[in-house]
């Protein structure tokens, strides 16, 4: 007994040693920038006024959290996140079931479904941008003359959501497909024997068994969607109140050269993302697929 215990402890130590380089590397490349931006967020640090740099405590947070532009961007981001992730979940589930059930041409279907996800977001966003530009675009040509949807707030937001959904539904479908594979066929067949219809079997058997996979897919996509940047940057650059929190952060940090305010915004995004993750893990009990049974 003791012998195996020693071996275990030794293995554990070896494991820690093997992890150490990666952990140290992570601290250097991720930890330090995070700490630096937290430090910056407590300072007046404006590259345009190098002589006025000073510690200001929580003043930057007060400024950002009482600013209407920030809350507009926050609201837009939440809206885009909630709407696009909801649509993606429904569409993704549909695609996952199709991919799961198909008997012929399975490889081909899976490949086709994954194409949007394989295209670089910026390239796809340019595709949408030109498609919706009056004069050159095939989609803009379908609209009445004189309409420029990307120059108006709500049409632009719908286009952004559309681009986002088109792009990431395959990712959602892929994660859900993995979950579908966990549902044993026998259960479904047994339920069918007991007289449960397709819908009832889906709701009562497939969905509950897929719950861990759904939760993981939602978590990944929510965190991703909340940080949306590239689609908006190409489509509207955040004009007409279509900017997300990441866009407004970039504007203040890079265009505005105000490292204090900009870092404050990035810290706030970091905190929000952490809260979203916390809610998913604690409230929805999200784990990695398969850990549920072992708990």
């Amino acid at each position: 007994m003791t012998g195996s215990g020693d071996v275990k402890a030794a293995e554990r130590r070896l494991g820690l040693w093997l992890c150490a380089p990666a952990a140290i590397f992570m601290v250097l490349v991720a930890g330090w920038p995070i700490l630096y931006s937290i430090w910056l967020s407590f300072n007046r640090y404006d590259l345009r006024f190098p002589q006025d740099q000073q510690w200001v405590g929580l003043e930057n947070y007060l400024t950002v959290l009482t600013n209407e532009f920030w809350w507009t961007a926050f609201g837009i981001t939440v809206l885009i996140t909630v709407v696009s992730v909801s649509i993606e979940l429904v569409l993704g589930m549909g695609l996952a079931i199709v991919m799961h059930r198909t008997l012929v041409g399975r490889g081909l279907i899976r490949t086709v479904v994954l194409i949007p996800y394989g295209i670089v977001t910026v390239v796809a966003a340019f595709g949408w941008f030109y498609a919706w530009t009056p004069g050159t675009g095939w989609l803009a040509a379908l609209l009445p003359d004189g309409s420029a949807p990307l120059t108006e707030q709500w049409p632009a937001i719908l286009i952004i959501i559309g681009a986002e959904v088109w792009k990431t539904t395959p990712f959602m479908a892929l994660l859900l497909l993995a979950g579908l594979a966990l549902v044993p066929d026998e259960l479904s067949r047994a339920a069918a024997m007991d007289g449960a219809g397709r819908w009832k079997r889906f709701v009562k058997i497939t969905l509950p068994l897929m719950r861990p996979a759904i939760a993981v897919a939602l978590l990944f996509r929510t965190l991703d969607a909340f940080r949306i940047y590239d689609n908006i940057f190409i489509l509207t650059k955040g004009a007409q109140n279509t900017g997300s929190v990441s866009i407004i952060t970039y504007t203040n940090l890079v265009s505005g050269l105000n490292l204090g305010i900009g870092s404050t915004m990035s810290v706030l995004i970091f905190i929000t993302v952490a809260i979203i993750a916390f809610i998913f893990v604690k409230v929805f009990k999200t784990g990695t697929p398969g850990t549920e049974g072992r708990r």
Partner: protein, 412 residues
Amino acid sequence: MRGLIAYVLVAGGLATVLSGCGGGGGLTVINLYNAPQENLSKIVERCNELAEGRYRIALNTLPRDADGQREQMVRRLAASDPGMDVLGIDVTWTAELASANWILPWPDDLREQAEKGVLKAPLETATYEDELYAAPYNTNVQLLWYRTDLMPEPAETWNDLIKTAGRLADEGEPHYVEVTGAQYEGLVVWFNSMIASAGGSILNDAGDRVELGKPAVTAMRQIRDFATSAAANPSLSNTQEDTARLAMESGAAFAQLNWPFVFASMVGNRPDLAENFAWAPYPGIDGPGKAPLGGANFAISAYSEHPTEAFDAALCLRDDESQLMAAVNDGLPPTIESVYADPAMADPYPMRDAILEAIKTAAPRPVTPVYQNVSTVTSALLSPPRGIDPAGDERRLAEQLKDALESRGVLP
């Protein structure tokens, strides 16, 4: 086999890197970063010949839009990049780059050469806190461009324009006046000119205090009145310089407020309309107006490894001959007064006396390190022009500008 391919690739890569380092055989390379200008390379070639081997200017072209140009420059300057020497900067960036210690003040002897014969207004756009931070290259000024068949006598005030538009609308003639009303720098240019015409300014001369006040309210009211009149194109809130030019060339408008580039375009695209196409001073509120002032200057990066050569190169790029080339080949109005008298200017610049006259009273934009904030919040607040609430927006703008001056401003 794979090993061999890898070896060839690595060797090829190394060769490229090495030849890149040795390029020019030890000759000092001065990197010029400038906005796209079609025939700038001819000016660069001329200066390279004049340098007689002391250095060679390499022309690097920045993105087409002003925001993209500024962003690329400030990102590299913030990283202390020594790869940029001479920077072609917009007139509104001088204070920002100077205050951040990213561009060098011109030493006295060179400053004297850079300032010689230069018109006062463009010179001030290159000056910050009594130091010269850039050599004036080209200037620009907006004029009123109109159709003499529809408006025989040019309007002197905005209310005249509105009245003429009303008359033309009643007669069923084209009755729009095109002006840059979209939410971008053009709207700020317009507002800044209006507030100057009303006898005020956005910031004080030192650029450290908000002025606005009554003249701002007057200016905002005039912009809103125009935007809700028959003179305003329904797409005013989407109009930029080029939209305005096209609207006038298409025959939808009887006048436009725009830079002189519209003249050559009208002559080229619509010779029939060009016959009745004339220019007049920028309209005012009660009397003569103060025209918007634009242009670009050459600054030297503080991280340049060859400042002496860079100053010399910048001086050549903006001398009389270079400015004449820029004016004739690319339509950029000179900053050196004597260049306007050159016979070669007569043909491309029939309006050169009007430009010279307008430059003398033109309204420069605020000189402040936080110009980016001033511009962004101003255009956001005033857009769309027909929805301006003069008193309320003046108060809001004053608050946001005050925050920006204290680094507490948030950009939308």
